[in-house]
């Protein structure tokens, strides 16, 4: 026996250790796989031995192989064996192997629970340490649940080495087993003030990470963190704290004001870039939107940043930060234009791309041409097609953004597009083509120029189609052919273009382009006929053209592309017929042109909604009685209809249901709504849903504006976009001069000059720049607010006026004095609203004002105190400090009471029993089989100084009246030598507020609710309230579970719903220290009580 062991040990001496393995692998570069497979066989032998040292060595080697990508999952059990060795050397290797190889689905993990628990409580701190480290990598929900308590105990270990590890690993435990958070939190909070800085920073780390997931629960820690922030000198901790505040500030705007000073101090004093970066990021993310004083700061921050931007990494981060500033303060970034343009020359592509992103946001009317010129230079220089393509798309994006807002000269833009077609190998021919089409269609004034350019393009098509199939740029010909055909009346020499379009080479183009060629050749043919008929000398030309078509079209008739073939043969027959008529000297031009008559007008994508519903058509009535299908099918159809028409909560009665009375119907609707609200697959009706207007608005009311040109139109040959830069400058000079002149003869000019800008929304310096052409405006969303019609000397158009259009419409649409004042008023109002909005939302909702109503604002808790306190006799031993009562969303008759038990004495408390004397109305829900007077056993024990939370469910029948329930808590206090039975009486106060559930409500649904007339009113006056209105609202929201529906100045409407579905609407108005609340609810009793409670809330402050 002994001999065998000795033999084993001697064998072991010849075993490979890790170093040998590594060396071996390096020496067997050619047949690595083979070598490793022999090694794995050896390892398998080694694992079979009893000697733990051999096993550990084998496991160590396996860990290495695992990294090289070999599967070692078969050895999982051996790893567990090594983990459970009593020797630290092997244990450490075992845990390392486990942390590298185990994952959630490794089944042997279940076997480790007890071993880990043993190691955690080992007297040797390093045993505990490796166990914690290992656990942090492979913790599963089961392990987390089983070990949470052990780790929690370790958080108060005597050695800081263990404490900090235990605190850090708690985060992983919380993620896997969220229930552990509540009991562990008090201790975690304690660790924020641990004497050891390592433990403290670990606690900050964990809380910061938790708060990022759910900031609301950590608001109460803000003062503590604030203290830490001003006292700590550890940059690592500071970064985490600042990040934490970044998460908290959106919830509590007042924090922002407090933060400004310490943050600016840090920014100016710190030498650590990482800290500076974090501060800047936080300032940008949350503070800028809150404070009007901030822009100056941000500018200074940014300057300091760009000054440091000498290394690549910082340059990148600087650009990143700027792009964030850009969103709120474009002006302060615009001053760094040169710096950003420099970044385009950077070697690093990611820096260049960032810079491009920034440029997109920076352009204005003034600098667009300059920026694009620079970009065009880069396009020529750029290496690699991906970056060049990126540049190309950016150029187009920059130019076309917000409806070509920044383009003052479309000739220039067309030239840019044409220049871009010379790029080789780009994939974005399609994009360029669609831009050409868009501009040519929408900017009427540019058509002649565009057509001339496109004709040249067609003529030089061979240049573009060097190697046709791979070259995406030939897509441009699609646009060129279409534009030349559609607007052929602008062509100088249609014959030449027609000839170019029918060249045999065209047949090599992709099918869809050929099809367009054929179709547009026909259009050109019509134009040629019209030009030449009637004049006897020219009739020959017309006939020649017909002959040309008849000669060339057969090529396309043979095309393998169906579309091309069909069009070609159709047109060929047509032309043949026309030729016959021509030979008989019949005039055909008129009739041929009629084939392609009709003007194309741009139409907004949502214009359909503007079309009024004809009289007598009810969209909600069934055209045919629906087949009596299954209920679910019917549901599906109904909801589909909702999505299409985007109608909020159809209140219409279907004929099918007409026999059902209103009440029943409402009930059903309620049920269905609740069901839909909980079903993630339902598309909810959008709050800004459009209503179909019946004001007789037709398609002709879509604003279409034409403006003539002030630039010479004809530029011969291929254009050079550069010349436009000069032209533009000249034009601006001229405009300035014009303007001066105009001032002198203001009166005469009035009403004539239509393109003057008024009520500008862009930077002031842009006011002088007038666009040379006007884009036909197609607003994204058709307005719904009001329609005003202006009559003007030159043209008439109607202008639907609302904030959403005000944004899109160029202000030069307001030629007369009258209209501009109107608009100003409107804008002022908008601004006012915006201001309010900014005051107490995080500013990210900037867009939400778009539809003219201030949308629901997030209520902000004024303080973090719970709305509910237990009135209890002070007891030295045990205390129930707070409890929170909330309605159960799932069940209309249930209320959940969460009670936090805290042990304030130094003895152990156990066997707690919670009992409440039921009333007729409210009953504590007890488990099945328990008698009506039995208490509920609290499922935990409390060591000294520990608190924990338990939840109890009460069933409630009537929610109209507030209630007080008496209860007792019995428990056993255990001291070292004795234990005593104690009792604690308390009262639970169910206010009516606690039956309310914060439910958001959209303003249109809200107004429908008020109009429905089944709500009873009641009102309340509060005198001497001198807090700001938004605080007041926040207070009502927070304490009484309301949500703000709409707020205008010092007046707000609020909404809440009870657990039994009662609607409650408030209209809160304030005027010098007096607050009046008009309330409506379908349950007057409940309403009265809630109002009393609101009154009480305000009398307490």
């Amino acid at each position: 026996m002994a001999l065998k062991i000795v033999k084993g040990s001697i064998d072991r001496m010849f075993d490979k250790n890790l170093q040998d393995l590594v060396r071996g692998i390096r020496n067997h570069k050619e047949d690595e796989a083979k070598y490793i497979s022999t090694c794995i066989d050896e390892i398998k032998q080694e694992l079979k031995q009893d000697n733990i040292a051999v096993k550990a060595n084998a496991v160590c080697k396996l860990t290495y192989l695992q990294m090289l990508g070999y599967d070692v999952s078969w050895a999982a059990f051996n790893i567990v064996e090594v983990m459970s060795s009593s020797k630290f050397t092997y244990k450490r290797i075992g845990y390392l192997a486990a942390s590298q190889c185990f994952h959630e689905s490794t089944d042997v993990i279940m076997l480790t629970t007890n071993q880990i628990r043993k190691d955690l409580s080992s007297p040797n701190q390093y045993d505990t340490g490796v166990a914690l480290t290992g656990l942090s990598c492979f913790v599963t929900p089961d392990l987390a649940r089983d070990l949470a308590n052990d780790i929690m105990t370790l958080m108060s270990h005597t050695k800081p080495y263990i404490r900090k590890k235990a605190v850090l690993i708690m985060y992983k435990v919380f993620l896997k087993y969220p229930e552990s958070l509540r009991p562990a939190f008090p201790r975690l909070k304690e660790k924020l003030e641990d004497p050891d800085p390592g433990v403290q920073s670990a606690a900050v780390n964990v809380i910061c990470e938790l708060a990022r997931r759910n900031p609301k629960n950590y608001l109460s820690l803000a003062p503590l963190f604030f203290k830490l922030m001003t006292s700590s000198t550890n940059n690592w901790v500071l970064i985490k704290i600042i990040k934490l505040f970044g998460a908290l500030t959106p919830l509590e705007p007042r924090l922002g004001k407090k933060l400004i000073e310490p943050l600016t101090n840090l920014i100016h004093s710190t030498s650590a870039m990482s800290l500076l970066y974090e501060c800047v990021n936080t300032v940008i993310a949350v503070l800028i939107s809150l404070s009007s004083g901030m822009p100056n700061h941000s500018a200074s921050i940014q300057v300091s940043f760009s000054r440091h931007a000498h290394t690549f990494s910082l340059k990148y981060l600087g650009l990143l930060a700027m792009s964030k500033i850009l969103k709120t303060h474009p002006k302060s970034v615009q001053s760094h234009k040169d710096l950003i343009l420099q970044c385009l020359d950077d070697k690093d592509e990611s820096i260049r791309l960032r810079a491009l992103d920034l440029l997109y946001g920076m352009v204005s009317k003034k600098n667009l041409m300059e920026i694009v010129k620079k970009l065009m230079l880069h396009v020529d220089k750029a290496e690699g097609t991906t970056y060049r393509d990126e540049l190309l798309t950016k150029i187009i994006d920059i130019c076309s953004q917000s409806n070509y807002q920044y383009i003052t000269n479309f000739e220039w833009y067309i030239s840019i597009l044409v220049e871009l077609t010379r790029l080789e190998g780009t994939r974005h021919g399609h994009l360029i083509a669609s831009q050409m089409l868009d501009v040519a269609i929408r900017v009427k004034a540019i058509r002649a120029f565009a057509v001339a350019q496109m004709a040249t393009l067609l003529d030089n098509a061979h240049l573009l189609t060097g190697n046709t199939q791979r070259n995406g740029i030939c897509e441009v010909l699609y646009a060129a052919a279409w534009i030349c055909g559609e607007f052929s009346e602008h062509l100088e020499e249609p014959m030449v273009t027609l000839e170019a379009m029918l060249r045999p080479k065209v047949a090599t183009l992709p099918g869809h382009i050929q099809a367009v060629y054929v179709q547009n050749a026909a259009k050109l043919f019509a134009t040629v006929l019209r030009g030449h008929e009637g004049v006897p000398a020219d009739s020959m030309v017309a006939q020649e053209t017909s002959q040309l078509l008849i000669d060339r079209l057969p090529l396309f008739v043979q095309s393998s592309n169906l579309e091309v073939q069909e069009r070609a043969s159709c047109i060929l027959q047509l032309v043949k017929y026309i030729q016959k008529l021509q030979q008989k000297d019949v005039e055909v031009a008129e009739e041929v042109t009629a084939l392609f008559a009709g003007e194309l007008n741009p139409v907004a994508p949502k214009a359909q909604k503007k079309v009024p519903v004809p009289e007598g058509l009810d969209l909600d009535v069934w055209i045919n009685e629906p087949p009596s299908g299954s209920e679910s099918e019917d549901e599906g159809r109904k909801s589909k209809g909702k999505a299409v028409f985007a109608k909020e909560e159809s209140r219409h009665t279907k004929p099918r249901y007409t026999e059902v009375d209103e009440k029943e119907l409402a009930k059903r609707r309620e049920v269905r709504k609740a069901e839909q609200a909980n079903n993630p697959f339902y598309i909810k009706a959008s709050p800004s849903s459009q209503k179909v207007r019946r004001d007789g608005v037709g398609v002709e009311h879509i604003p279409v504006v034409q403006i003539d040109l002030s630039v010479p139109l004809k530029v011969p040959g291929m254009p050079m976009s550069d010349q436009y830069v000069k032209l533009e400058e000249e034009r601006r000079e001229r405009n300035k001069a014009d303007k001066k002149k105009k001032k002198d003869k203001k009166k005469r000019e009035k009403g004539e000059k239509g393109r003057r800008r008024r009520g500008d929304s862009g930077p002031e310096s842009e006011e002088d720049i007038t666009p040379a052409h006007m884009v036909d405006i197609v607003t994204e969303e058709m307005p719904e607010v009001g329609i005003y019609t202006w009559s003007l000397p030159h043209w008439t158009f109607s202008l639907p006026l609302s904030e959403s259009t005000a944004r899109h419409l160029n202000p030069c649409l307001f030629p007369s004095q009258k209209s501009s004042t109107h608009k100003k008023k409107k804008q002022k109002k908008e601004k006012k609203k915006k201001k309010h909005h900014h005051n107490h939302s995080d500013g990210a909702g900037d867009e939400s004002v778009q539809n003219g109503t201030v949308e629901e604002e997030e209520p902000l808790p004024v303080s973090n105190q719970s709305p509910f306190t237990l009135s209890i006799n002070p007891c030295p031993l045990c205390q129930i400090p707070v409890c929170d009562i909330q309605g159960n969303l799932q069940d209309g008759s249930q209320v959940v009471v969460s009670v936090i038990f805290e042990n304030k004495c130094d003895s152990f408390i156990k066997s707690m029993e919670f009992n409440v004397l039921d009333s007729l109305n409210s009953k504590l829900q007890r488990p099945d089989g328990a008698g009506p007077h039995d208490g509920l056993i609290v499922p935990f024990q409390l060591p000294p100084g520990i608190s924990n939370e338990a939840r109890f469910i009460f069933s409630v029948q009537n929610i109209v009246m507030p209630q007080k329930l008496k209860g007792t808590l019995t428990f056993i206090v255990k001291t070292d030598d004795s234990s005593t039975h104690e009792k604690l009486d308390f009262k639970l106060h169910f206010t009516c507020t606690s039956y309310l559930i914060t439910t958001p409500c959209y303003s249109d649904a809200y107004s429908k609710l008020l109009e429905s007339g089944d709500l009873k009113g009641c009102s309340l006056k509060l005198e001497g309230v001198n807090q700001p209105f938004h605080h007041l609202l926040a207070r009502i929201c927070f304490h009484h579970h309301f949500s703000v529906v709409e707020r205008i100045d010092s007046c707000a409407s609020m909404y809440s719903r009870s657990i039994q579905g009662h609607h409650m609407c408030l209209l809160v108005k304030t005027a010098d220290q007096t607050v009046s609340i008009d309330a409506k609810c379908d349950e007057p009793g409940l309403l009265g009580n809630v109002l009393d409670e609101i009154k009480l809330t305000f009398s307490q402050c």
Binding site: V22, M67, I93, Y126, F312, S350
Partner: protein, 155 residues
């Protein structure tokens, strides 16, 4: 931090630490993809790149690339600092560390990393503390290693 990878200029993985549970297949895929992306970058490029929905921070020390993936709100610069701190720790422990040290003592490199980071968060910002902990753990390991050897030889 989501994970940390160390790899050579040839693309050989030298160390990997995952702080998020992923299957082996996925880990391999991510590693391959990331090693390729990082190696393709030129020396004068910045140390950050956006990759999937994460940010990748990397730095090259001699022939080794240290590469970390962090979440979007995380601070890139402090991650660079963490990488540097780890290199310093390796350097102190091995005495002017080179790639071979990490290859042949890869478990040591892991132990140091585990003392420095736990679950992706820095557990101690003091280099001294980390080195002290690792030295003492090593001492403990040395203590029972030879004894075990003789014991098995003599019994």
């Amino acid at each position: 931090m989501q994970f940390m990878l160390l790899f050579s200029r040839q693309g050989k993985l030298r160390l990997q630490k995952w702080y998020v549970p992923l299957s082996d297949k996925e880990k391999k895929k991510i590693t391959r993809e990331l090693v390729q992306t990082v190696l393709a970058r030129k020396p004068k490029m910045c140390s950050f790149l956006e990759w999937r929905d994460l940010k990748v921070v990397y730095k090259r020390y001699a022939s080794l690339y240290f590469c970390c993936a962090i979440e979007n709100q995380d601070n890139e610069l402090i991650t660079l600092e963490i990488i540097h701190r780890y290199v310093e720790l390796l350097d102190k422990y091995f005495g002017s560390v080179c790639e071979l040290d990490i290859i042949f003592n890869f478990e040591k490199a892991y132990f140091i990393l585990d003392e420095f980071l736990l679950g992706g968060e820095a557990q101690d910002t003091s280099k001294k503390n980390v080195l002290k902990a690792i030295e003492q753990a090593d001492l403990l390991a040395e203590e029972n290693r030879p004894r075990q050897f003789f014991f098995s030889l003599l019994s």
